[in-house]
């Protein structure tokens, strides 16, 4: 249920006992929009929520009584779609970890190790609604996540520009997200008004150069101009944070601080040669929830309207340990390496997907998938607790697309692996049906294009010569 907005000096209590301070939030917002009456229009928002390794299609048929159970409390606000296929995204054989993950939210095969075949849903919506950029001071796209495997960018980044390049750099630590969204920047070498004047002058000349190279007389081609345009946008954001904020040096700064450094491994250390890492369930969940809290807060404070968030990468390799409970009842005690009787990559939970057998219980896979749904539900519930101006929650008003990389993890049938890929979407201000589990039986491309059409986007995903085929049954 929606709850009242947070007070100005919001304090976010992270699960790991970490408190997060937001001393400058209000001032960061352009033109005092936070102080505006709540009658302001509800902004268009679109986010992609990715979880790794997927839910085998046969398990999806069990509805909320199976691994989808954690989504049940939100069932009225979700449309769970079954039998959505990405088979055309099979670019290089049948390994869905990479191909399937890149197709999530783009419905197209990748076009390079760090390039999607086209834009993602959130970015098409962003370009449609903000063709000239977002209001000053906002983060154009927030890409974050808790993940470890990183051999290819498509495994963990899920927002892509129209040309297939990543829409924003991945923020993989809670502290990174905090800095990216809320962090104030102190321009180097500025101690007084005189120095500030000189720095501004420097920045002005820098800006004029970037404007030239993005303008009509630019000698650059389309792709390069786009890159310089990105650079220019970031400089403007920098300018806003570094120079447009009032001097608060004399104010009380005793409020809570940035999140503590992450206790988990990140960067290259988190993926030692694809061999996987050991991780305690509590540590994993604590960091993810702090990440989810920050992401939700970024949306609530209207600092972010578009982006993606990832809970575990495609083909994630973790040797998870810990007791997993749900609703006070024990589900499973994870110890992947023990259960698999193996070390290295062969001792990782990933193997449960390789071993999936629809004729068997698949106890470990079920427990892992259930846990992932619990954590996805955590984020969704956070968004459902934030009220928008129209009395509905952010969850209801935003276009949230939840998806994953495959409908089967066995790597033994391309069609099966990339068919029945789990999808759930929200109503996006009443555009889409919710409160049901629907057997859609269509290509992801058609589903996504239907969603984009409903969001007012002209741009369509997929080959230009492909006949559009709307999926009416998902529309209200």
């Amino acid at each position: 249920m929606p709850v009242p907005k947070l007070p100005r000096r919001t304090i976010l209590k992270g699960l790991g006992g970490v408190t997060v301070g937001l001393p400058l939030l209000e001032e960061m917002l352009p033109g005092g929009t936070r102080a505006a009456p709540v009658a302001a229009a509800v902004p268009v928002r679109a986010f992609n929520v990715f979880f790794g390794l997927g839910i085998p299609a046969p398990l999806q048929t069990e509805g909320f009584s199976g691994v989808l159970e954690p989504l049940k409390p939100l069932s009225k606000k979700l449309l769970v779609m079954r039998n959505v296929d990405h088979i055309r995204a099979d670019a290089n054989g049948i390994n869905a970890h990479f191909d399937g993950a890149t197709a999530a939210f783009t419905a197209e095969a990748p076009n390079g190790e760090a390039k999607a075949g086209g834009p993602s849903i959130d970015q098409v919506v962003r370009q449609t609604w903000h063709p000239d950029g977002l209001p000053a001071g906002m983060v154009p796209t927030l890409v974050s996540g808790t993940f470890f495997r990183r051999s290819r960018v498509g495994r963990f980044v899920h927002s892509y520009n129209a040309n297939g390049t990543v829409a924003a750099a991945m923020q993989e630590r809670p502290r990174d997200v905090f800095d990216r969204v809320f962090g104030a920047i102190a321009p180097a070498g500025v101690k007084n008004a005189r120095q500030l004047r000189i720095k501004r002058s420097v920045l002005d000349s820098v800006l004029s150069e970037y404007r030239y190279f993005t303008g009509a007389r630019s000698p650059l081609g389309i792709a390069s101009r786009g890159r310089i345009t990105d650079h220019l946008e970031r400089i403007r954001e920098f300018e806003q944070r570094a120079y447009a904020l009032p001097d608060r040096s004399g104010e009380d700064t005793s409020g809570p601080r940035r999140p503590l450094p992450s206790k988990l491994q990140h960067g290259g250390a988190a993926d030692p040669g694809g061999q996987g890492i050991d991780i305690e369930l509590d540590d994993l969940v604590s960091e993810w929830r702090l990440m989810a809290d920050l992401y939700a807060l970024s949306i609530e404070m209207d600092r972010v309207r578009f982006g993606s968030i990832t809970f575990l990468a495609a083909g994630e390799r973790l040797r998870v340990k810990g007791v997993y409970e749900y609703g006070g009842r024990p589900i499973y005690e994870f110890d992947d390496a023990r259960d698999l009787n193996a070390s290295g990559d062969m001792g990782c939970s990933h193997e449960w997907w390789h071993k999936f057998n629809p004729g068997k219980q698949n106890e470990q896979l079920r427990a892992h998938a259930h846990m992932k749904m619990r954590e996805v539900a955590y984020l969704l519930q956070k968004l459902d607790q934030i009220a928008d101006a129209n009395g509905h929650s952010v969850l209801e008003n935003s276009l949230l697309t939840v998806s994953t990389e495959s409908g089967d993890g066995r790597h033994n049938d391309a069609k099966r692996e990339l068919s029945g890929v789990f999808h759930a979407i929200t109503s996006a201000q009443g555009r889409f049906k919710t409160g049901q589990i629907m057997d859609v039986g269509r290509e992801g491309l058609d589903v996504y294009n239907t969603m984009l059409a409903a969001m007012g986007c002209q741009r369509r995903l997929g080959p230009v010569d492909r006949e559009p085929a709307l999926v009416d049954q998902i529309l209200v």
Binding site: I87, R88, N92, G93, I94, G112, E113, A114, K115, V153, T165, V166, A168, A169, R180, A188, R194, R197, I198, S201, V202, L203, D204, S205, V206, S208, E209, Y212, F213, S218, P219, L220, G221, A223, S224, R227, I228, D230, R234, E237, F238, G268, A269, A270, P272, G273, Q275, S343, G344, D345, M346, E351, H354, K355, R410, H411, N412, D413, A414, D465
Partner: protein, 903 residues
């Protein structure tokens, strides 16, 4: 002739007839029938084609009104001219008559034209004109590329009744003197076809109405051509040498036309409106359809079962000869008919590809069209590696400086080491398509902006700004002139090329702010200007002019200098290279080679080579190596660093010090080990026992060490197989990185869970079991045997005769080189390394890898032809790193900017 001058019949009838015959022949030869027919229809029935090769600028005066004279060469950015005083001219379609003194000139210096001619050292100026008087002199400027009455690159002028041509070269004056003049009386008030040609050797000729009128030698290179010249008709730029008369056509070529070509253009006549798309050689579209559309499908979908080795059904599509011969059931396709072709029938029914997803509708349409159009097959070999990244070039992505390039650029400019803060502040680069410098993935985030700002501040703090300024200008005041001068000089170095006025003005704004600020100083102003430059796009990106209508255009000299230096050194041009660019020496192939050769002797080139090998072999992976403690209890994490250092020291020795062919890295019998790594490898420890020696790399001659020798026997690469020393992963490493082989992911119904070894079953045994399985063999037989020779090395690079279960380990195996029909057998690890080192395929792969790194982008089928030339040239010069890099840098992949479609 379609103009209103009444001079249409000027060209002799015989010439016109000859032109028609020539035109038909040329069109039929150059174009597909349909295209030829269209072009013919587009041309006048009595108009032979004009020569188009080397055409840079063409004015046909086709517009009958307006102040713009349009360049219709259709090859790149048009160089349109503007009529300053329209009241002094009269226009009709195909004619521009200058009736009074005015100027018809380009708004900006025609960079493209100047670059093209500087690079070629040759040109042709052609004009169909009709002077209004015989007594015009000065000479009166008919066509000029100049700055004022005493500074020019060239001028085609009228001096009384003579044609007079001035050309600037290293042997003539800034005014282009001495000039070359045609015979007296060569110019009257009649319509005349004037052509001036000058070849690279300086041989110059003037042709009047298709006949040679004068010739002489205008020696000297054109490297002193000035960039600031404007192209103009009808007057000098300062309007001091007017020419009055009618223009029917003006054209400029970047080469000297031959006598026949001059005659051909004369035969084409004056007033030839440029057809939509000047006639130029086109390839048969069926050929390009095959190479760009069909070949990728065949390579990606069919070769798995139908290459020279697998040859299912007796059909091998990997070579033209075997593909056209067909298989066990006869020819795979019938010329000109898809429906009668077995290949199409199987594809249409989704029976092929066998046990793979069927072709898409689009792919089927491509195959059907190809067969219906005759099944043209142009390529001698079909190499799937060529199509991994698609057929057509990707968009042009300008390159942001990587962190390493940023550090080197700052070091080179200011002689300070900024590596520590730069590496701390700048986000790390993310690998894509095998390298971390892939341009499309060099994104920019808020952290970059913050870091660039902070680093600029740190740099100006550390640098002695006064001394830095003194390198460029000793005495400076806050006047616009002084500051502008300083900005130009500093900026030229920091921004790697001359500044435009707009930039000078922008940076001068900073000085103005400082001048109006209390207690300001020149030092402070200089520091602020440098700070701004360090954050500018021209510093942080390798800025190049990418726009143009043609498929490609030459780089300008400064762009080329930057490409050369960043490719060879990973940093900016030094003073000498910069000077060569400024003097125009980089338009000369010999000068370029000389510079490249010099640069490749520099230590910076070695450092860049090390970056290449570290990136290609992904040595940073070792930073995070975490072998299983239970399996490798003796593992010391410091060994991972030792392994990185071993490989870099080895590369330095073989590639640099010994200057051996790149492929010798596979079997060079030398390495460099710390005592602990030597012990880990089971080699004698050359340790004198003191602390320093524990970290020192010691050279090992491996001639008599059978187990080691070459890159693949080093821990840095052996660890790629993980704890279980996976033959799959190691085999794929050899296949992908050294052989450029292509295999797909596992087919249906295969459990891909890695299998651990056990008593009685080594990893080799497991691999052989996989290969014995028909379903797996198609792919696994290609790459796993490549790793057999490495079986004696465990997951962390240790050497053993038996594995942990007591299984005896072997080292014999086979190599299937991509495209070969048979396997090559090896009996030992060393023999495997020798065979790899001697393989043309491996040598070629190294050329490809180095080229990808140099260009900062994945290579596509469109690059394949040039890569072949690069490789051949590199091999002729010894196949060394230096030879290969030299061949890359002097290739058209570097010399030209792809502009197709970039608007």
């Amino acid at each position: 002739m379609p103009n209103d001058s009444g001079d249409a019949e000027k060209a002799p009838a015989g010439l016109l007839l000859r032109g028609i015959v020539f035109a038909v022949g040329l069109l039929l030869f150059c174009e597909a029938p349909a295209v030829a027919a269209q072009s013919l229809a587009a041309q006048s029935a009595v108009t032979p084609p004009r020569v188009s090769r080397g055409l840079v600028v063409l004015y046909d005066f086709g517009d009958s009104s307006g102040i713009i004279v349009r360049d219709r060469a259709g090859v790149a950015d048009p160089i349109d001219l503007t009529i300053e005083d329209p009241g002094k001219v009269r226009r009709s379609s195909g004619v521009l008559e200058v009736r009074g003194s005015t100027l018809i000139s380009s708004l900006h210096p025609p960079r493209r034209l100047i670059q093209a001619i500087k690079r070629s050292g040759a040109l042709t100026i052609e004009a169909w004109v009709e002077p209004s008087r015989e007594n015009q002199s000065g000479p009166a400027r008919m066509v000029t590329l100049s700055k004022d009455s005493t500074n020019r690159n060239f001028t085609l002028g009228q001096d009384g009744n003579q044609v007079d041509v001035r050309l600037r070269s290293l042997q003539t004056s800034n005014n282009g003197l001495p000039s070359l003049a045609a015979k007296s009386g060569s110019l009257t008030t009649q319509l005349a076809h004037l052509v001036y040609t000058r070849d690279r050797d300086g041989q110059s000729r003037i042709w009047v109405d298709g006949k040679l009128s004068a010739s002489g030698k205008i020696s000297g290179r054109l490297s002193n051509w000035q960039r600031a010249m404007h192209l103009a008709l009808g007057n000098e730029i300062n309007k001091s040498r007017p020419w009055l008369g009618k223009y029917y056509l003006v054209a400029i070529y970047e080469r000297a036309l031959s006598a026949n070509e001059v005659e051909q253009n004369y035969a084409a006549g004056a007033g030839v409106l440029a057809p939509p798309g000047v006639v130029r050689k086109r390839r048969d579209p069926r050929e390009t359809h095959f190479e760009l559309a069909v070949a990728p499908i065949l390579a990606n979908q069919c070769l798995e079962c139908h290459d020279a080795f697998t040859r299912k059904g007796g059909l091998a599509l990997s070579r033209k000869s075997t593909a056209t011969a067909g298989g066990d059931t006869g020819r795979a396709w019938m010329t000109g008919s898809a429906k009668d072709s077995l290949l199409w029938q199987l594809v249409e029914q989704d029976a092929m590809p066998h046990k793979r997803p069927p072709l898409s509708r689009r792919e089927k349409r491509i195959i059907q069209k190809w067969l219906d159009d005759g099944g043209v097959w142009t390529l001698r070999r079909l190499d799937p590696a060529v199509y991994v990244h698609g057929g057509r070039p990707d968009a042009n992505w300008l390159r942001r400086l990587t962190t390493a390039e940023y550090i080197e650029t700052v070091r080179s400019l200011f002689a300070i080491d900024i590596s520590k803060p730069a590496r701390a502040l700048l986000p790390p680069e993310v690998r894509a398509d095998g390298f971390s410098n892939t341009a499309y993935n060099l994104n920019v985030e808020l952290k970059h902006i913050e870091a660039y700002q902070q680093l600029a501040g740190i740099i100006v703090e550390r640098v002695d700004i006064e001394a830095f300024r003194g390198r460029f200008k000793k005495r400076v005041t806050f006047t616009d002139k002084d500051m502008g001068d300083l900005i130009k000089k500093i900026g030229q170095t920091i921004l790697r090329g001359p500044l435009e006025n707009r930039e000078v003005i922008a940076y001068r704004g900073i000085a103005t702010t400082l001048a109006a600020t209390e207690d300001s100083s020149i030092r402070e102003a200089t520091a602020a200007i440098v700070e701004a430059m360090l954050q500018s796009p021209r510093f942080l990106y390798r800025m190049e002019r990418q726009r143009g209508a043609g498929p490609a255009q030459p780089l300008d000299e400064f762009e080329l200098a930057s490409r050369m230096s960043y490719m060879i050194w990973g940093g900016p041009p030094d003073a000498r290279l910069f000077q060569a660019a400024a003097q125009g020496d980089l338009y000369d192939a010999a000068s370029i080679l000389s510079e490249v050769s010099r640069m490749l002797q520099d230590d910076r080139a070695m450092t860049q080579a090390e970056r290449f090998f570290a990136d290609w072999l992904h040595l940073s992976r070792l930073d995070y190596l975490q072998p299983d403690r239970g399996k490798f209890p003796a593992w010391n994490p410091v060994l991972a660093g030792d392994m990185q250092r071993e490989t870099i020291a080895f590369v330095r020795e073989v590639v640099w010090r010994q200057n051996r062919p790149l492929s010798d890295l596979l079997n060079a019998q030398v390495t460099f080990l710390t005592p602990r790594l030597a012990a880990h490898y089971g080699l004698p420890v050359k340790d004198r026992g003191d602390l320093q020696d524990a970290e020192t790399l010691v050279r090992y001659d491996l001639t008599n060490v059978q187990s080691r020798g070459g890159l693949l026997t080093q821990g840095s690469l052996l660890t790629v197989g993980g704890d279980e020393a996976s033959m799959v992963t190691r085999g794929l490493l050899v296949m992908h990185e050294l052989l450029r082989g292509v295999v797909k992911d596992p087919p249906p119904c295969v459990d891909t869970t890695p299998v651990p070894s056990k008593p009685g079953l080594s990893q080799r045994g497991i691999a052989e079991t996989r290969i014995a399985n028909k379903t797996c063999a198609g792919c696994h037989a290609r790459f796993e045997p490549l790793a057999y020779g490495l079986e004696k090395f465990d997951g962390v690079g240790g050497y053993h005769e038996k594995d942990e279960h007591g299984n005896v380990l072997r080292e014999n195996g086979q190599i299937l080189f991509p495209g070969d029909a048979t396997r090559t057998v090896y009996r030992s690890t060393r023999q495997l390394m020798d065979q790899l080192a001697g393989s043309e395929r491996v040598q070629e792969s190294m050329t490809w890898k180095l080229t990808q790194f140099a260009l900062g982008r994945p290579l596509t089928a469109a690059d394949a032809g040039v890569l072949q030339e690069i490789h051949a040239q590199a091999q002729r010069r010894g196949g060394t790193y230096r030879a290969t890099m030299g061949a890359i840098v002097s290739s058209e992949l570097v010399m030209l900017m792809r502009t197709g479609g970039e608007q």
